[in-house]
């Protein structure tokens, strides 16, 4: 029994060591944005406790920023629920993409799904776990690290936010850079090129037709339609 526990601890240690470098851009981005979120909540009269609770329970970056408006207007839980589904709709496609990778991972799977955000999805769907690491521990390490960065950032923002003097303007671009690089990584596999182009073109179309505030769901539907209609061609 002790041997098994020791074994597992050893495996987890290796997994975190291997996973950490992949999450450094997320660490940077989540600290900046998490601090921004903590400060913003503070300025609306919500203490660190509430900001951290929101980050830990809901864990959905962009929706949390949208929700600040909700928290300062009136009590509308149904509206908050529906808005959350719409803003988070893209996760449906992340789930479909991760069905295969998250297969047969046992108890850990629930946590992986609970914390499947944009950044964790982009890393876990692009990176193949090294052979020295057990697959489930590797994905667990990525998910847990990203999740903790967001909570840590929120906490720091609530506590020290007002005093940060280092000029961080533009640092949040690190997450855009992460997505650009992981997009390029996906493009290395020739099979992904057409799908990547479909993603870019459909999203630009969605942005032009529906505007910055409403682009995500229309873009997802265009992507879905093109992928389904082009199945015969894209498969070969």
């Amino acid at each position: 029994m002790i041997q098994i526990q020791k074994n597992r601890r050893e495996k987890l240690k290796i997994a975190f060591k291997e996973a950490f470098p992949h999450t450094i851009p997320v660490l940077t981005g989540f600290l900046v944005l998490g601090i921004a979120y903590g400060v913003l909540m503070q300025s609306k009269g919500y203490s660190t406790f509430w900001a951290v609770l929101m980050s830990a329970v809901a864990f959905c970056g962009s929706m949390q920023f949208v929700a600040i408006t909700l928290l300062t207007v009136a009590f509308h839980p149904i509206q908050a629920f529906l808005l959350s589904i719409m803003v988070n709709a893209r996760h449906l496609f992340y789930g479909i993409s991760m069905l295969e990778k998250y297969k047969g991972l046992g108890k850990i799977r629930g946590f992986l799904i609970y914390t499947l955000c944009d950044e964790t999805f982009s890393i876990s769907s692009s990176v193949t776990p090294p052979k020295t690491v057990e697959r489930k521990y590797f994905f667990f390490a990525i998910s847990l690290l990203d999740y903790s960065y967001w909570i840590l950032g929120t906490f720091l923002g609530g506590m020290i936010g007002g005093f940060v003097s280092f000029n961080t303007e533009g640092l949040d671009f690190v997450l855009t850079a992460l997505f650009v690089v992981l997009f390029l990584e996906q493009m290395k596999n020739r099979k992904n090129i057409s799908s990547g182009i479909i993603g870019i073109v459909s999203s630009i179309l969605g942005l032009c037709l529906f505007g910055a505030g409403n682009m995500v769901i229309p873009s997802m539907l265009i992507i879905l339609a093109v992928l389904l209609l082009g199945k015969g061609k894209l498969c070969s």
């Binding site: 609770l53 928290l71 069905l99 692009s126």
Partner: protein, 111 residues
């Protein structure tokens, strides 16, 4: 703080419920022990690259190309990322380099 503690708690739970519905639904519809339909397997293979494209466009959605600075910092930073990545092929270096280029541009040249 406009809402009471209880109202805030309920709002947080409502938002979490909405988010979790979008995260868990695919895994509920296509459980581990059953082979998902072929079309879902096909989408699972194609969607990651497409969604990465969507995320890139989404991050740039508020950039105005018509008004100054015409998205120049973003364009220059992304081009540097592409070059860095082709050259050194190091994920962290490309991300760090691109971010540094962007920060220098928005803090000095395009204030």
């Amino acid at each position: 703080m406009q809402l009471t503690g209880l109202q805030t708690l309920i709002t947080i739970l409502a938002i979490a419920l909405g988010a979790m519905l979008t995260r868990f639904t695919p895994f509920f519809l296509f459980p581990d022990h059953k082979e998902p339909p072929k079309i879902i397997g096909y989408l699972g293979k194609m969607l990651p690259a497409a969604m990465m494209g969507l995320l890139v466009v989404y991050c740039l959605k508020d950039v105005s190309f018509l008004n100054s600075p015409h998205g120049i910092p973003e364009i220059v930073a992304i081009i540097s990322i592409i070059f860095l990545h082709k050259w050194k092929n190091n994920v962290l270096l490309s991300i760090g380099g691109g971010t540094a280029v962007y920060m220098i541009l928005v803090q000095t040249m395009f204030k």
